[in-house]
């Protein structure tokens, strides 16, 4: 053995003793699970990104279970929801938003067909019981979430059947009764849930009685009373309010005779009414709405508040729409309507910071009409709620639905916010979560995570793919019972899941692990505490930012070093 004199060596991998992490001067990478925009936009609080991720792995039942952790009625919302999730979808900037509602509906139907059990356990025998007034979507959601949280629920419903406006106001062409009943039956059969029908607040039960007998009271009575309506003091003798007319049609199957109908309003009730009256034989059905139709120049707040495909289908069926307008005057012959004067208007900001409706002089036009139907919203039936209503609604103090009375919460349309089925379902969940925490002596907190915006994605890593084709009944074949939008089926639903960009959540794609020049990303076999499969070894990370730049989903972000 000779002594080496000209060369020298270091031990293999001894550079690990040199911690290059202290080179970082500004930012360090972190895993940041921002909210996907679909999740942030969902009134029901579903995390679409989370259940699409499970569906990407082909785990349909797990995906459904993740979905019903927020919304127990996916088969219903997949059919009736105006899907703000799709409007928010970051894929819209690439090649079209995901068909979230179609996949949601498929999952809901699949769960019914396969008999997948709701992922909850029966509450303990001595669990506190929560009283819920109203078995509409909000009340049912609240009851379901009470069960999930280990409470029992007892629902009091005035009508002879559960479902609320899902049954009384949404036409079967949008929500077939078989689909509604299938989901409701499964929900109502859950252990710990009791439903008392024909029990009306104020007549059969009183709020004081409920408050004293139950751990908490959730009020989800909906809006049952039409708002008073007149145009400059004039009301026709045969005046009918839109929702009442719709309900009557659901029960009896006929509308009053009219050839020229003017519907005044801008919501789903107005849209449903227009389409049904057109189908029932009215020659001209015209919707007069103060909002705008979808288009490049329409501000999001000005957009007509209906399900986008409903609007499309209504135009296909020949419903006429006059946007940015209102009914300025009724033309009466005696006390019978013969026409209306329509005037253009805009919602414009006034000097006081509030929006005002400004009608424009010189835009008046006269339309002949046999019938004018207002669909301008409804208010809460005050019976049994004396002292709680404020300008027609319950108006809770916070996002949990808390009312001034202790342990009493308001849910759904009755709380006076813009009412959709999904919003009522979300209200029910939040109220149930808040009351469960408060019963346990804790304080509910809202999810303050940021939303992941499209520029934070790296679109280079995603493949292309168009939205699936959705079967639809042609306009001529539409009647009063057959569902118009069809099922996309298993293959299309699973393919659609592959289009999800996983905004803000880890794909486990290995990009950060592959691209780190410093070997400072460590892959883990088990899920790390932040839900990914990767750790940052900040002892060696030099802070170059490559991982954040090349992360497809925006899950890695560079944040300033503390201190």
């Amino acid at each position: 053995m000779t002594t080496l004199t000209r060369g020298a060596w270091g031990y293999a991998g001894a550079s690990l003793d040199f911690k290059t992490g202290n080179w970082r001067s500004t930012d360090k990478p972190v895993h940041l699970h921002a909210k996907a925009p679909c999740h942030a936009a969902c009134p029901a609080g579903e995390d679409q990104q989370a259940w699409f991720a499970l569906l990407q792995e082909g785990r349909a039942q797990d995906a459904w279970e993740a979905l019903v952790a927020a919304n127990p009625l996916p088969g219903v919302t997949g059919r009736v929801c105006p899907h703000p999730c799709e409007s928010a979808c970051n894929r819209a900037t690439l090649d079209g938003a995901l068909a979230i509602h179609n996949v949601e509906r498929w999952l809901g139907d699949e769960a019914v067909a396969k008999g997948w059990a709701y992922p909850l356990e029966a509450p303990a025998g001595d669990a506190p019981v929560v009283a819920i007034v109203g078995a509409g979507p909000g009340g049912l959601s609240a009851a379901y979430h009470c069960l999930r949280l280990g409470l029992k629920a007892e629902i009091f419903e005035a009508a002879p059947q559960p479902g609320g406006l899902l049954r009384s106001a949404i036409p079967p062409t949008r929500l077939p009764r078989a689909a509604l009943d299938a989901e409701l039956e499964r929900l109502l059969a859950l252990p710990g849930l009791t439903l008392t029908l024909r029990a009306r607040l104020g007549r059969d039960v009183s709020l004081d009685e409920l408050s004293s007998r139950y751990a908490a009271v959730l009020l989800a009575p909906g809006c049952q009373e039409g708002k008073e309506w007149d145009v400059a003091g004039a009301v026709p003798t045969d005046h009918r309010e839109g929702l009442a007319l719709l309900r009557e049609f659901m029960d009896h199957g006929s509308f009053p005779e009219a050839q020229r109908v003017i519907v005044h309003g801008g919501g789903n009730t107005a849209m449903d009414l227009c389409r049904l009256m057109k189908r029932a034989g009215s020659e001209h059905v015209t919707l007069v709405t103060a909002s705008g139709l979808p288009g490049p120049n329409t501000a999001p707040g000005d957009l007509i508040n209906v399900v986008p495909r409903e609007l499309e289908e209504a135009l296909e069926e020949g419903v006429e729409i006059i946007d940015h307008a209102t009914v300025g005057r009724l033309i009466m012959k005696g006390s019978k309507v013969t026409g209306v004067e329509v005037v253009s208007l805009r919602k414009l900001p006034g000097g006081d910071g509030r929006t005002h409706r400004v009608a424009f002089e010189g835009t008046e036009r006269i339309l002949p009409a046999d019938m004018v139907i207002p669909c301008i919203g409804e208010r809460v039936d005050p019976e049994g709620l004396e002292g709680l209503l404020e300008r027609g609604y319950l108006r809770p103090a916070d996002s949990w639905g808390s009312l001034s009375r202790p342990n009493v919460y308001a849910i759904g349309d009755a709380s006076g916010q813009s009412g959709t089925v999904a919003a009522a379902i979300g209200d029910g969940r939040r109220a149930a979560e808040a009351l469960a925490l408060r019963l346990a002596g804790e304080v509910p907190v809202s999810d303050a995570r940021p939303v992941l915006e499209a520029p934070q994605l790296n679109p280079r890593y995603y493949g292309g793919g168009a939205r699936p084709h959705v079967p639809k009944l042609p306009a001529a074949a539409r009647d009063f019972d057959s569902e118009i939008e069809g099922d996309i089926g298993r293959t299309a639903a699973l393919a659609e899941a592959q289009r999800c960009l996983s905004c803000g959540n880890c794909l486990a794609c290995d990009n950060c692990w592959t691209f780190c020049p410093d070997n400072a990303v460590i892959k883990t076999q088990e899920l790390a505490s932040d839900g990914s499969h990767y750790l940052f070894d900040l002892d060696y990370c030099k802070g170059c930012g490559l991982c954040a730049q090349e992360c497809p989903t925006g899950y890695i972000q560079m944040v300033p070093e503390e201190g």
């Binding site: 270091g10 991998g13 550079s15 890593y461 486990a508 290995d510």
Partner: protein, 361 residues
């Protein structure tokens, strides 16, 4: 003759070195000692031939390329490394970031040393593959002669050139690999010239003219493609050659987080075609799904900033680089007929669960 000492203190004549080794060295585990705790780093599902703690700059493309090569070549390999960034930043005495036998001799002789190592392995009856690493300076310029000799003698060596298109280690001087019109300290942009006057040397054609079994170009922007080429070359008995486009944030003057994006655009615009040649003939290329204008590649880099000045020469040089890219696209037929899972768009796709997971479109 001195007494062989097991702990590696083989230089008792130099107390300073012995002290440094005690302080920074990692003596091998003695037999029978308590096994060290397994950390998550120890249980990575890939071979860590090039470890952390090396002194490459933030976002170094060369460090990334070398790590990717070692992952798919190792562990039964030996490395002969020419002078250059890679040599300097991985072996700061007495530490080494390498976890394989590794030797550095001179700037010009990595291939000659590798030839000797290969002959020694052959004489000992071992199958350990010899790798030779060099930057573009030692490959295109200084070590070109020994490289040619090694290829001509048909040594069983994989030569990898980490091409960052200038002498970065000594402070960004032009090499024969520096692209036309790029500014370096020895080809500055100014009144006389718009950066480098000459063209980038077409090294791959010269290498292929040695009629060797395999010569290919790869890019750090397509790591799966890069590693496939390494594995393919490792399976060949005989001389093989790989040139890897490795952006240098310092010398190319781009943000350290943009290393991959810059490399990707070089491929997508046609200036760095990913081609494979066997026995001198083109056998495979990575088609470009949607060719990008050269401008998109240039605009990210400070070394081409002068090409965006209000100057007719700037416009001319941009057009010249575009013509060179178009020439590459035409020569190698880089535009595919239809979307291909192996083209520049398809090769980048990721799926939930990583590159090995099934799924996708």
């Amino acid at each position: 003759m001195s007494d062989p000492t097991p702990s590696g203190s083989s230089m008792p004549d130099n107390p300073r070195l012995a002290e440094l080794r005690r302080k920074h060295g990692r003596p091998p585990q003695a037999p029978g000692a308590e096994p060290p705790q397994i950390t998550p780093r120890d249980s990575q599902p890939r071979f860590r031939g090039l470890e952390s703690g090396h002194r490459a700059c933030q976002g170094c493309g060369e460090a990334l390329a070398a790590r990717l090569v070692m992952e798919s070549a190792g562990p039964d390999v030996m490395v002969s490394n020419a002078t250059g960034c890679l040599e300097v930043f991985t072996t700061t005495w007495p530490q080494s970031a390498w976890r394989v036998p590794w030797i550095h001799s001179l700037f010009e002789n990595a291939s000659a040393v590798a030839s000797g190592m290969e002959a020694a392995m052959k004489a000992k009856g071992k199958n350990t593959k010899v790798l030779a690493f060099g930057g573009d300076g030692s490959t295109y310029d200084i070590g070109f002669q020994t490289l040619s000799g090694m290829l001509e003698r048909q040594h069983n060596v994989l030569y990898v050139c980490y091409d960052n298109e200038a002498y970065m280690n000594t402070g960004v001087q032009r090499s024969s690999s520096t692209p036309h019109a790029a500014a370096t300290t020895t080809s500055p942009a100014g009144k006389e010239r718009m950066g480098k006057r000459h063209l980038k040397k077409d090294l791959l054609s010269i290498i292929a003219a040695h009629h060797i079994p395999y010569a290919a170009a790869a890019s750090v922007a397509y790591p799966q493609d890069l590693q496939r080429k390494v594995r393919y070359a490792m399976g060949i008995e005989g001389p093989t050659f790989l040139v890897i486009h490795s952006p240098c944030p310092l010398g190319w003057k781009h943000d350290s987080c943009l290393t991959i994006e810059v490399a990707r655009r070089a491929v997508e615009c046609g200036l760095f075609p990913l081609v494979e040649l066997e026995r001198g003939a083109v056998t495979n290329v990575m088609p470009i799904r949607k060719p990008r204008p050269v401008r998109d590649y240039l605009e990210l880099q400070g070394r081409f900033r002068h090409l965006f000045a209000e100057d007719p020469r700037a416009e001319e040089e941009q057009a010249h680089l575009q013509a060179l890219a178009d020439h590459n696209i035409a020569t190698f037929g880089l535009t595919g007929d239809a979307e291909d899972p192996a083209d520049t768009g398809g090769a980048a796709l990721v799926h939930r669960g990583g590159p090995l997971a099934s799924g996708g479109f």
